[in-house]
């Protein structure tokens, strides 16, 4: 018997009204995420990943179709689908502690003030920011800001955690560090996660399942790749696993190879940009064999 999905997207359509007429961004999107599952969402730049995530978050509305959380249709944004924004979105006039505490005060009224405060400290500690707890966002590095943002998101104990390219703006070293930490935190907390990423390695390292979106307009979920790797995972043993490279090659081949994906993209620049992004993200990186 299949457990009830945590998150369900059914026959979702999105058409933007623009100055140049309607733009059909998403077509017939269907997906299910089980409780505790980590799903990665990939696809070329501009295909509609953020649009889909924003609709799931309730920050944007679907033209048609529905989003169900534990079987109930979502109504507007809410902390049960907490979002980690790409640009961190910390409030610049509050220090790390106050940013996290604001979320707890608003979303966890079930906890008394003392517990809210200790929870804020606990999550800040979990992302390794205890030493910077009283710093303002402008006094933090990009990686530290993203840690604070993740602490804030985890603190409200969401039913689904939504991540929109959370590490996209970070340098390679910091990104790896944060990926490892997110992996450890996820394995502890068993949160359900939907994450957008441009980075095939990141998707494989972290997720249980990778959803590939086709190019826009009218983007669909093209294919789905289960990640057949043992958990708990860690980066170094992953790099020794041949299954990792098999999947990685399939993902990259899919991103470039698929005829109908490219044929559909009538926006040439967009497609080119997407290809460049992937080349730099995955294929052109030094061969990972060197690291082992």
């Amino acid at each position: 018997m299949k457990p009830e999905p945590r998150l369900q997207v059914k026959n979702l359509e999105k058409t933007f009204v623009t100055r140049n007429g309607p733009y059909h961004a998403l077509e017939n999107i269907n997906l299910e995420v089980r409780p505790g599952e980590f799903v990665a969402l990939m696809g070329h730049s501009g295909c509609g990943k953020s649009t889909l995530l924003n609709i799931i978050a309730g920050l944007d509305t679907a033209t048609d179709g529905e989003v169900l959380l534990d079987g109930d249709p979502i109504r507007g944004p809410g902390p049960d689908r907490m979002m980690v924004f790409q640009n961190y979105s910390l409030l610049p006039w509050m220090n790390v502690y106050k940013n996290v505490l604001l979320a707890l005060r608003s979303c966890r009224p079930d906890l008394n003030r003392k517990t809210q405060e200790s929870e804020a400290r606990r999550y800040i500690d979990m992302v390794g920011l205890s030493h910077a707890i009283h710093r303002l966002p402008r006094e933090l590095s990009g990686g530290m800001k993203q840690r604070a943002s993740i602490a804030r998101a985890l603190a409200v104990n969401p039913r689904v955690l939504l991540l929109d390219e959370p590490f996209g703006a970070l340098d390679a070293l910091t990104r790896e560090e944060l990926q490892d930490e997110l992996l450890a935190i996820w394995e502890q907390n068993n949160t359900t996660v939907v994450m957008i990423t441009h980075d095939a390695d990141e998707a494989i390292l972290l997720s249980d399942r990778i959803l590939m979106m086709t190019n826009g307009p009218a983007a669909r979920i093209g294919r789905e790749f289960p990640v057949p790797l043992q958990r708990p995972r860690d980066r170094s043993s992953l790099l020794e696993d041949p299954a990792f490279y098999t999947l990685r090659n399939r993902l990259i081949a899919h991103l470039f190879g698929e005829e109908d994906d490219f044929a559909k993209g009538d926006d040439f620049d967009n497609t080119l940009f997407g290809a460049e992004a992937y080349l730099s993200e995955a294929s052109l990186e030094p061969a990972p064999f060197a690291e082992t």
């Binding site: 309730g58 944004p77 902390p79 907490m82 924004f85 409030l91 610049p92 979320a103 005060r105 608003s106």
Partner: protein, 272 residues
């Protein structure tokens, strides 16, 4: 010239600061006074020389807080009377301007309804409000306060509404996802995000208030630095007018600096 910041001698640093920062204004002011002195020393001059101003107004300069009853009080008291009116009118303008600005910022309906009216009213020159407020209040003091209010309110109102309209969508999304209640959104997001804009309005407003009060007091009489100037003109005490202008300028400058300093602090505290 590059000054070495590692200079160990504090005396040397004070000397450098004095020569580099203090010297230019002192020289320029001296030259200005000199030219003034020369120009007004002719027999046919209508205006007093600087030395004449000082000797004519020595009593006023040395004793700013005398009180001989009625309107015959020192310059300090005159300024104080004007400042009290400004304080009242400006405070009212801040409260009403910020509130209405927020209303316009958050409600499209309020914006569509109020904005056209405000755009027309704000171009009315301050003194044009005086007769109508005299007619309404039948009293000098509230009329002057009203003129200050109506002069200062527009930049405050408009800048506040712009600040509220420009709250970054990131912060709005955060507040939506966290389902912040109205009060928390107002105090933790809207006010800090709009604060730099609000203070821009407050700074323009305080300047206009001070411009307005001097003009209004010239017309309504009683006490106040504006009336003092008008009274001095009627008594042909030109030196008194010159002294009053210097006072008006310095007080206006201080008011501006106070609001600007607070505004800079706030902008710094709320910047990303």
């Amino acid at each position: 010239m590059a000054t070495s910041s590692s200079s160990p001698k504090p005396l040397l640093r004070i000397w450098r600061y004095t020569t580099q920062r203090m010297l230019p204004p002192v020289v320029v002011i001296f030259l200005f006074l000199l030219i003034w002195q020369i120009l007004c020393s002719r027999e046919s001059a209508h205006l007093p020389t600087p030395t004449a101003v000082v000797s004519d107004t020595l009593e006023l300069i040395l004793n700013p807080f005398y009180n001989h009853g009625g309107n015959d009080v020192g310059m300090g008291w005159q300024i104080w009377a004007s400042l009290k009116r400004v304080a009242l009118g400006y405070s009212l303008a801040v409260v009403v301007g910020v509130s209405l600005g927020i209303l316009i910022g958050i409600s499209t309906w309020a914006m569509r309804g109020l904005d056209p009216i405000f755009q027309v009213l704000r171009t009315v020159p301050p003194l044009a409000w005086l007769p109508i407020s005299l007619a309404g209040f039948q009293d000098n003091n509230p009329s002057a306060i009203f003129v200050i209010f109506i002069t200062a309110i527009w930049p405050i109102l408009i800048n506040t509404s712009v600040g509220v309209l420009n709250i970054p969508s990131d912060y709005q999304n955060v507040s939506k996802v966290l389902r912040l209640n109205h009060w928390t959104y107002f105090s933790k997001i809207m006010l800090p995000a709009a604060a730099p804009y609000i203070f821009t309005g407050l700074r323009i407003g305080i300047g206009l208030s001070w411009l307005g009060i001097v003009a209004a007091e010239m017309l309504i009489g009683g006490v106040g630095i504006g009336f003092f100037i008008w009274d001095a003109w009627n008594s042909s005490l030109i030196s008194d007018i010159v002294l009053a202008l210097i006072y008006v300028g310095i007080v206006g400058y201080i008011l501006d600096r106070i609001v600007a300093t607070i505004g800079d602090r706030v902008a710094q505290a709320t910047s990303a």
